[in-house]
Symmetry: C2
Subunit: 266 residues, 2 copies
């Protein structure tokens, strides 16, 4: 179905705009992705938007034409509108000319098949959506199975997380759980829980990583609670040669993930 | 000197507010840092603000009292104001109650003493201030000498970069240069230039890193220009097991930096 919208007060415009807000995303069960590059990442991962919204005057583009065909074939909607309204929807002065609405997918832990990958990333109360997206991107790079979000984390379907993931939100598995749910699930099968720690830890380099290896990164400000660290099978420490005693959460996860990858691939 | 300001249109308020803008920072040669924690990081690194601005009603705090004394001893100014005006200055709904104005310091390349550290980070056209701050923070952690910003990079004195650096902007050396200036300076002394690359590269693990080692990270979207890569003494490649062929710039820099640290420390 194709529609053209010219009014700022159109209900579709209001709805799309509301998806910038986490509460509205959750209620609608959908999220907005801006820009042809991310939409193409989604498409190549088998995710087709329910609705495509684009500026009426735009350059013809082969990838966009294919995307339009796929949206229509899947029974989705294509909306054309003015650049001003597209700005209003995306909240950007210069939006990229096209955005898509996707249904959020199931993020329950019991959907994960832990044996498919040697490495999984686990984030505890990770609040920064940019860090969350960066961890998804790193997960893709190290061939991780996915990212498990424990406790009150940023929303993986926020525009900032999707953008920072560079499309990895479409390829990496994402699960959300409480700490108790996560530990229950983890201990019901194989899996080594590893944390970067300052307490009773061995050097991260050459540590005894085992597959499937779950690399746990704590909250940006407070790090991991002591009892969460105590639950870990392996605590590792990274050199800290400077004044500070911690790294950016996404950086710490990446340094650990590359070390585990090297260890597990021998 | 102490002053109390109650008017939104006060010239000091306007000036402080203008420091959120890069152009005004550059013209004034000063920048604004918000929050007692960062101000304390600065103080412990020997950087005392020219001016301290704080909400009139605040909890007494020993660190803040010490900071006030140091500012006054150095001939600086202390301004008290309303929470609303502090919000206006910092651009935040809930500012942290105190902010300080610092003189920007000299960022010329020829001030760097390359022999003081085995590792230096170099960023080419790094546009994201969060990435820039994260690289400073990583630099602190690996004991790097500092961060060299090549070409048109984000401003290391922006609020976002300072915050992401977690205070490392006060301890790490920062230099800014064109590519030609940087290469001229580098080749006038000892130093190995290393880049992460997809072209003709050796595995990053176990590569022949040499001190002082300059780790070059390219622009977030375009990566390094081919001729910049060609100038490097060592090109290394990191495993990419997923769909994408790159990492977040600050993550790539950190994984390389920890590898180089392990190699150089034996």
């Amino acid at each position: 179905m194709r529609r053209h919208i010219t009014g700022f007060s159109n209900p579709t415009v209001k709805h799309l705009r509301s998806l910038r807000d986490r509460k509205h995303r959750r209620r609608a069960g959908e999220f907005l992705v801006e820009g042809l590059r991310l939409l193409e990442d989604a498409r190549s991962s088998g995710r087709v938007p329910r609705l495509l919204v684009m500026a009426e005057e735009r350059e013809p583009h082969e990838l966009l034409a294919r995307l339009e065909r796929e949206v229509e074939a899947a029974g989705g909607e294509i909306v054309t509108t003015t650049p001003d309204i597209l700005s209003k929807i995306t909240g950007k002065a210069n939006p990229q000319g096209v955005a898509g609405v996707f249904a959020e997918w199931d993020t329950r832990l019991d959907r994960l098949e832990r044996s498919v990958a040697p490495i999984w990333l686990v984030a505890q109360e990770l609040r920064d959506p940019g860090n969350l997206g960066t961890m998804l991107r790193t997960g893709d790079a190290v061939g991780a199975g996915g990212l498990i979000l424990v406790g009150d984390c940023a929303d993986p379907f926020s525009a900032e997380a999707v953008r920072a993931s560079m499309g990895a939100v479409f390829t990496q598995q994402v699960a959300r759980a409480s700490w108790e749910e996560f530990i229950g699930w983890l201990r019901a099968g194989e899996g080594q829980l590893v944390a970067a720690s300052l307490r009773e830890a061995v050097p991260y380099r050459g540590a005894d990583y085992r597959s499937p290896c779950f690399l746990l990164v704590g909250n940006e400000s407070r790090g991991l609670p002591e009892d969460y660290e105590a639950e870990c099978d392996l605590r590792v420490t990274m050199p800290m040669r400077g004044r500070a005693d911690s790294l950016n959460a996404a950086v710490a996860g990446a340094v650990l993930a590359y070390e585990a990858l090297a260890a597990l691939e021998g």
